[in-house]
């Protein structure tokens, strides 16, 4: 069965809705004949502003709706599809509400925050469309937990076999077993790279060290090195998986706080406009 992304949900229903709303707003804006110049205080300005504010509240309600697993008001995919498309239409509506009048004030702050939230959201959509495919390619049928357990197995096996190897090789294995790690810092999660990874170090250093081994030791060495490579590859897959998950997570750490900042700025915008009516 073909997979439908949230962008294609219900045959682009919300895309069409967003286009209609945007075009309608643009058409009325062009037709509108404001006193002096277009601004937020003409009747169209108030209309677009009210529409934009309600839309922002509704878009933020998505954060509540997606947690209400028992709700039957639409599907979460439908809500997300609408969230994405109407969030984009919001840019058109709010930009027209400003009348392209920007300045160094709380009103423009609200506008800029709105843009920042939408842009971070768009990045989120981009990430959600790209990263899961890469995750599947990386992990196949495996889960991260399985890989971690398998690495544990390899560690035991490798260590037992490495007993028959010279000290310097054993210590490489020892460090790989005892000190290799996953995650643990923002940099390591986001890049999927552990610059001081003892396993990677062992893989690099191994061939030069094992060159002079002969006989039985050489055979053991071959086995252990095979296990080491296997472990290294699994570690890299696990780190890539963590990186993918971190990328999927990171934008929300901007999207959500910015949205609440926007809510505050929007509130101040509305109240201050009517205080100084």
């Amino acid at each position: 069965m073909r997979h439908y992304s949230i962008l294609e949900y219900a045959r682009f229903r919300w895309f069409k809705a967003a286009v209609v709303v945007s075009l309608l707003a643009a058409a009325v804006y062009l037709w509108h004949d404001p006193p002096i110049k277009p601004y937020g205080g003409s009747w169209l300005g108030y209309t677009l502003g009210t529409l934009g504010a309600l839309l922002i509240l509704w878009l933020m309600y998505y954060g509540v709706r997606k947690r209400r697993y028992r709700s039957n008001v639409g599907t979460v995919q439908g809500w997300l599809s609408a969230h994405v498309y109407l969030g984009t239409a919001l840019v058109v509506i709010v930009t027209l509400h400003t009348g392209f009048e920007l300045g160094f004030n709380v009103h423009t702050l609200a506008y800029v925050l709105m843009l920042a939230v939408v842009v971070s959201g768009m990045y989120g959509v981009f990430v959600y469309l790209r990263v899961p495919r890469a995750m599947t390619e990386n992990m196949g049928e495996d889960a991260l937990e399985q890989i971690i357990l398998r690495i544990g197995d390899v560690d035991r096996d490798m260590r037992a076999r490495a007993m028959g190897l010279p000290d310097e090789l054993l210590s490489l294995i020892d460090r790989s077993v005892n000190e290799s790690r996953l995650g643990g810092s923002f940099w390591r999660l986001m890049t999927g790279v552990d610059l001081g990874c003892p396993t990677a170090h062992a893989v690099r250093a191994w061939p030069a060290m094992a060159r002079r081994l002969t006989g039985e030791t050489a055979r053991v060495d071959k086995e252990v090195y095979g296990l080491l490579l296997q472990k290294h590859q699994m570690l890299e897959r696990a780190r890539r998986d963590l990186k993918h998950k971190a990328i999927l997570d990171l934008w929300l750490y901007f999207h959500v706080p910015l949205a609440f900042m926007l809510l505050a700025a929007l509130t101040v915008h509305v109240i201050s406009v009517f205080i100084y009516w």
Binding site: K37, G103, I148, L252, T267, I271, F274
Partner: protein, 562 residues
């Protein structure tokens, strides 16, 4: 030599038999005594038979035994050796064996934690990144900086003073620049925005604009149209530095394209655009009953001026004859002189513009004297006095030329004149004066330009000169500046070259204006012209005025001093 090696690791015990003269001890699987522990070197040492078992270690733990071997211990029953974490003890051999060794792991390696135990911080959330706290923090910061502090003044909070500080405070609420003239007030929002959640009141505007007049006079009907209108209804501030109102046509046209539907009694014609939809001009004429406005149309507009003045004659390309300069060609500027404002012209006056050619001489044969321009009676008095004087003192030459009979002034003759001679001289002088006066008024001079009615009675004749009407403002509601049009020839707008009558009103029609002026939309080769280019706003009292008094709009400084 047959040796039994018993290895015990934890509870497990393994036995193996070795047939050899020596046993290698180490981590290596090829060692006879295999010690699988990372703490044990690959080849730790050897146990050899030298009249009993001896444990030997090479330098830094090695099976290469040289003279410099660092450890060499003879084994005895009940005296175990420590080899790394292991203990090796010689035990009495069971039957069939030459020797027996018991190997025991006494310090097992502490179990190293598996990778899973070190893989605890696998998500951004586990690193302490937070959405919820960041959301609260940023939202509260915005509320504090942009609302709590700025609201101090208008909500009368304790930090009132701080909220008006230039660096922060309610300046963050300013939605856009105010017009240039209002910028001195801009930093103090409270100058206009006095009470929270209330519209700006006209009072705030009038505090400075004390002398601003009514924009819509009481004559504007119906008054309900403008009921409830505030200054800010039309004058929107914070919309840029240039103006608070829109000066394109839409504002005017919104009513004036269908005025009747807004005000049933309106007399102004419908208009929506100067280029496409503007009625013909109305010309205001001075008439006996007062002023009358006549719309330009097919028939030429005429106004009775009571003056005989053909522009055609004066503008004859062949010129006119001047008594002083001979034949000269006149153009408009010879007579029409700009006034002080340069927008319009001085009124034409007889002494300044006409009299050089149109002299008022009454006896050119004798004198160049002229009668005064003005009242007929004054002129006649001057004539009478002149001839009386001539009759009294005239030289024979003058006397002859003036009276047409030989003689000289009465007082020039020898001896006292007789009463009869006096009577004769007086009669001669007054007869001549009457004759010349009548000729001057009715034929030769006054009549040239003026409409004169003569009222004859038994004793005398009285002349009435119709007062000349000089209309200085045919279009009093239009703002027109001649100076701004000085690159244009007069004749482009005022067609007087062939006008034979002063009654012709040579005001341009809308067609002439449209040659250069377009409407509210740009047209190639034309000047974009909106309503306010020529019209004032609802103000019947500001017709074209060469010396307009500008309304005083000074800022009341005391209000804004801190």
């Amino acid at each position: 030599m047959k040796i039994l090696v018993t290895t015990k690791v934890g509870r497990q015990q393994a036995r193996k038999t070795v047939n050899s003269e020596w046993l290698r001890v180490g981590r290596n699987t090829s060692c006879e005594i295999h010690l699988p522990d990372p703490r044990v070197p690959l080849e730790q040492g050897m146990i050899v038979y030298r009249d009993g078992l001896v444990y030997m270690e090479g330098e830094s733990g090695s099976q290469v035994i040289t003279r410099r071997s660092v450890r060499s211990e003879r084994m005895h029953y009940g005296e175990p050796l420590e080899v790394g974490p292991y203990r090796i003890e010689m035990t009495p051999p069971p039957p069939g064996y030459d020797a027996a060794l018991r190997v025991e792991l006494v310090h097992p390696l502490e179990a190293t934690p598996a990778l899973a135990a070190r893989a605890s911080e696998l998500t951004l959330g586990s690193l302490g990144l937070t959405k919820r706290w960041a959301a609260w923090l940023w939202a509260l910061a915005v509320l504090f900086v942009f609302f709590v502090v700025p609201a101090g003044r208008v909500l009368d909070l304790p930090w009132k003073e701080a909220s008006q500080h230039a660096a922060f405070g309610d300046r963050f609420w300013n939605p856009g620049p105010v017009m240039l003239a209002h910028q001195p007030v801009e930093p103090r929002c409270g100058a206009c925005h006095e009470v929270a959640f209330r519209h700006v009141k006209d009072r705030a505007c009038l505090e400075c604009h004390k002398n601003i007049g009514h924009h819509v006079g009481p004559e504007m009907q119906p008054a309900a149209l403008f009921e409830g209108a505030r200054c800010a209804t039309c004058h929107r501030e914070h919309k840029g530095v240039k103006a608070t109102f829109r000066d394109d046509d839409r504002f005017c046209v919104s009513c004036h394209q269908d005025l009747k539907s807004h005000a049933a009694g309106a007399t102004a014609a419908r208009v929506s655009d100067f280029a496409r939809d503007h009625p013909a001009f109305r010309v205001t004429l001075d008439e006996d009953g007062g002023k009358r406005r006549v719309r330009q149309g097919d028939a030429p507009v005429a106004q009775q001026t009571h003056l005989k003045f053909p522009h055609a004659t004066h503008l004859d390309p062949k010129g006119v004859k001047s008594p002083v300069q001979g034949r000269i060609r006149l153009d408009c500027s010879n007579c029409h002189k700009p006034d002080a404002s340069k927008r319009g012209f001085e009124p034409i006056s007889m002494p300044r513009q006409c009299q050089e050619c149109h002299t008022l001489q009454f006896e050119p044969a004798v004198t160049t004297r002229e009668v005064p321009h003005g009242k007929v009676a004054d002129a006649l008095t001057v004539i009478e006095e002149f001839y009386a004087n001539l009759a009294l003192k005239g030289t024979p030459d003058s006397f002859q030329k003036a009276f047409g009979v030989p003689g000289e002034g009465l007082l020039r003759r020898v001896g006292d004149p007789s009463p009869a001679e006096r009577q004769n001289a007086l009669a001669l002088a007054s007869r001549k004066a009457r004759q010349v006066g009548a000729d001057l008024v009715e034929v030769r001079v006054c009549k040239t330009c003026h409409e004169i009615a003569s009222v004859k009675s038994a004793q005398s004749t009285e002349w009435k000169v119709a007062p000349v009407r000089q209309n200085m403002s045919f279009m009093p509601h239009a703002r027109f500046d001649h100076q701004a049009h000085r690159q244009t020839k007069c004749a482009s707008c005022h067609d007087v070259q062939s006008s034979k009558s002063s009654a012709d009103v040579a005001m341009p029609t809308i067609k002439a204006c449209r040659e250069c002026h377009g409407g509210s939309r740009p047209i190639e080769g034309k000047v974009m012209s909106n309503c306010l280019l020529c019209h004032g706003f609802h103000d019947a009292t500001h017709p074209w005025n060469p010396n307009p008094a500008r309304p005083v709009t000074k800022v009341a400084e005391a209000t804004h001093a801190r």
